[in-house]
Every structure is written in structure tokens, then in C-alpha cells.
Symmetry: C2
């Protein structure tokens, strides 16, 4: 089976490392020639090829930024081989799933794995180990195509999970996009202070992901902008509730809220 990888960054090159280790031939494509060369040097892919050739391989992984995903997917799908199966790794799914709804050979996907460093230098065949790999097929998606993608996901030691695209986008909005915005805003809050090293351990934890790859994260956040706007609206409303407790000196309400958080966190960790 010949695998095509479009975009040989952290995710694409990690997929290549996984699948080459399983004996597949892996062919890559990237407009970033440094990434392509690094992916070849690190044996993540066997060789480079153009989109026209990649479009006709057995399975093609699109591992590119959300902002260019649909046009590139369109070009590939138009020139596809008769039996070629496509899947993507974009971090939001509503838009691409709507586009793919009438394209049986395209299985939208999103591996729930990553790293604060980007690029093929950081790729590893361990990246997906133990992670959930979300798939959002439609009713028209070819059953065999879904099954082939699921098998490849399992070979990368991840667990394929099928959910609907809107649920996926709400989940990554809360669990990934919101923390990134929150971390960035903490850095912004600190800009109002004199520069002195007085922060404790919690600061470092909470701001670790702040300022990671601004171009990629602009694309990611923008691709989920409606959902994220709603999530931030709820977050803002909750901040306002805390402010009300503070300004009313309502100790009981604040204690009740913090205790509710303890219980919530335990329940979330048990899930």
C-alpha cells in the first residue's frame, strides 16, 4: 500500500515515521522544501512527489494548515485515483466535513496529539501512542474507506473514535483552543507588571502553551471561530460571576464555587 502525505510538518512526518516503520511506502509533498528535505533525511518519507501523483496513491493524509485545507483537498479529490482514500488532520471539522459530505472517499479526521514544537525535526513515531484519533465521516462516506483509515490509525497506536463534527469542534474549542487563548491572555496580563521574577510554579504551567506558532494558531482559532466565540462568551460570563462575588465580598458564594470546582475536576478525571 502506498501512502501519500501532504504537509511534512510535525504531524505529517510523524505519520510517515509510524507507517514506514510498519513497512508502507510513504511519499510526501510540501511547498516548504526544508521540511520535505528534513522529512526525507529523518526517513519519515521515502521521496517527494507533486500533488498530481500523490492524488492517485492508495491513502492520502492531508496534514496542512486549516486555512489552505479545502482548496488543496479540492485539487487532490478532483484528480484522485479510482480507489484513492483521503483523510485530513485538521484541528476543526465542521467546515471540512460539510465540504466532504458528498465525497465518499474523503474521511475527515483529527489526531488528538501534538507538541509545543512544530516541524519535522520534532516528529516521532510515538506521537499518537494512546491518543484518540477523531473521525467525522458522513452518512455517504464509503464504509471501506472508513475502515482502512481506522486500521492505519490503530497501526499508529491511536484509538479511532467517530463523532459528529459539531461535537468535535465544541470539544476542541473547550479543551484545546480555550486553554491556548487563556494562556496567551495571562502573558498579556503580566505585561502590566514591572519585569521581576516573582512568579511561582503555577505561572509556568499555565503559560507553557502561550505563544506557540502564532501563524498555525491563528489558522486553528479562526477555523473554529464561531464555536470559540461562544465558548469565550461563557468564559467571560463566568469571570463576571467571580467578579460579582469579589465586589460583594460574598465569601460563601466563592467558597461554594471553588468546592464545586473540586467536585467537577474529580468527576472529569474519573471519566
Amino acid at each position: 500500500m502506498q501512502i501519500g502525505i501532504v504537509g511534512t510538518g510535525l504531524i505529517g512526518a510523524s505519520i510517515g515515521l509510524c507507517l514506514k516503520a510498519q513497512g508502507y511506502e510513504v511519499v510526501g509533498c510540501d511547498t516548504n522544501k526544508d521540511h520535505l528535505a528534513t522529512a526525507i533525511r529523518r526517513t519519515a518519507i521515502d521521496r517527494g512527489a507533486d500533488l498530481a501523483e500523490i492524488a492517485k496513491l492508495d491513502v492520502v493524509f492531508l496534514c496542512i494548515s486549516p486555512s489552505i485545507l479545502i482548496p488543496v483537498a479540492e485539487e487532490l479529490y478532483t484528480n484522485r485515483g479510482e480507489l484513492t482514500i483521503f483523510t485530513d488532520c485538521g484541528s476543526t471539522k465542521t467546515e471540512v466535513a460539510a465540504w466532504a459530505a458528498d465525497k465518499p472517499m474523503f474521511v475527515p479526521g483529527h489526531p488528538m496529539a501534538g507538541h509545543e514544537k512544530s516541524g519535522p525535526s520534532y516528529a516521532t513515531n510515538w506521537l499518537f501512542r494512546g491518543a484518540k484519533w477523531i473521525l467525522t465521516p458522513s452518512k455517504k462516506t464509503d464504509k471501506h474507506a472508513i475502515s482502512v483509515v481506522q486500521d492505519l490509525v490503530k497501526k499508529m497506536e491511536a484509538t479511532p473514535v467517530s463523532i459528529d463534527p459539531a461535537t468535535h469542534d465544541r470539544q476542541v474549542g473547550v479543551l484545546s483552543h480555550l486553554p491556548h487563548v487563556v494562556a496567551a491572555l495571562l502573558i498579556e496580563a503580566r505585561n502590566s507588571l514591572p519585569l521581576e521574577k516573582v512568579s511561582g510554579g503555577s505561572w509556568k504551567d499555565l503559560t507553557r502553551v502561550a505563544g506557540v506558532d502564532p501563524n498555525l494558531w491563528t489558522d486553528i482559532l479562526m477555523s473554529n471561530r464561531q464555536e470559540l466565540d461562544g465558548i469565550l462568551g461563557e468564559y467571560e460570563a463566568n469571570i463576571h460571576k467571580i467578579r460579582d462575588m469579589l465586589s460583594a465580598n460574598d465569601r460563601e458564594a466563592l467558597q461554594g464555587f471553588l468546592q464545586h470546582i473540586v467536585v467537577s475536576k474529580e468527576r472529569q478525571n474519573e471519566s
Copy 2:
């Protein structure tokens, strides 16, 4: 020199462990008899005593919750020995510094160290190693008292730093209280999702401090409520700016903001 410790929790027992290792006699007081017994068993203090006896020792550390700090400090200071020096470890300083402004033998303080676990079982003589230990003396504070407290702080391997109480409270508001509120609100945001394990690494980091000791943190946040309300107001306004960028699909503005965060974080880390 005889050291008194009022409140033998994580901070008080850690101070005891540090100073007993340096050869001081350490006497403790706690309404929580389990804490007192644990502190003795762990050799953090030599023995228990009542407030009246503690008030007459050479140096007394108040390591109790902000909500009861002032009344206990008042009782101790009223019954103080002629040369007794007092200092506290409360996490906000404006209120206690105002109270102490006309009390030369009281040096308000705050060690910038902690742990997500509380109680003397988690106490360690390494807790203050490399940490800043803020002192907020007034113009009337006795110079010798400041110098004695500074020396003890250095013996605990921390660095004493004198700043004014308002600056301190703004700094801990941004660097400690805000992250704790932010982490709690992330847990609250997740309550709107079905319970499924799809979160990545950033989630765990950002919520580590959520739900830590709700009683203590109610006291801490309430003791800094005016400053924190202002900080949360600015934070809320910044969330609103991000929401405006999202709803206007203003990619350029979002990218500009994220790039500004990269630069800010680098500058903050260099400080």
C-alpha cells in the same frame, strides 16, 4: 534564639524544618491538633505552646489564613515580649501592612513558595530554596527587626525582597490569583461537555492548580478582592478583544496579537 510558629500547616512546618536544621529552638501553636502533632512528629517544631507564651519568644512567624491573620496578630502584638519580632506569611499584604504601619516590631512578609498540597505532611526544608521572600515594611518598622527577619529568610535559602504592599498585591494578583481563577474556570467550561477523555497535554497543565484547598483559596482571593477584581476586569476586556477578532474574522489582528504574545513571553522570561 527561640522561634515561634503560629499555624503549623505547609508553610509553618516548612519554616520549622528549615530553622530547626539551623539549630534554632522552634515552638509551635495551632488550633488544629492533628497539624500540631504531625509537625512535632516530623521534627518541624520542638513542642507546642499557647499564644501567650509564643508572643514572648524572639521571632514569631504567623503562618495562618488571611481571614484570621489580623485578630491573631493583634492578640500576639498586645501581649508581646519587649524585644519580640513578628512577621507573617500572608499571601496579600495591603491590609496587614496598613495594620502594622504603627507597629515597629511587625515586619509583614510573604514567601513566594507553595505547593498544591497543604498541611504539615507535605512540609519540606527545601520549600523556600531559590524563592523570593517579599517583605513590606513601613517607614516606622524597626530596622533591626527587618534585618533579623532578612537573615532568617536567607538561612531558609530564600532571597528577601522589600517592595510596597500595593505593588506586591498587584503582582500576586496577576501571577498567582489570576492563574488560579483561570484554571478553575477552565474546569467549569468543561462541565458543559460530555465526559470523554479527549483532552491533550495543555489541559492538564492549565488545570493543575484548579480546585486546590477551596477554604484557603477563598481566603486568599477574598483578601485581595479589590485588586483581583480589577485584574479580572482587564482580563475580561482582553477576552472581549479576542472575541471581536473572531467574530469579525480579522485574521490579521489575531495573528498580530499572538505574535505580540510571543515577544512578550520572551521578554518576561528574560527578566
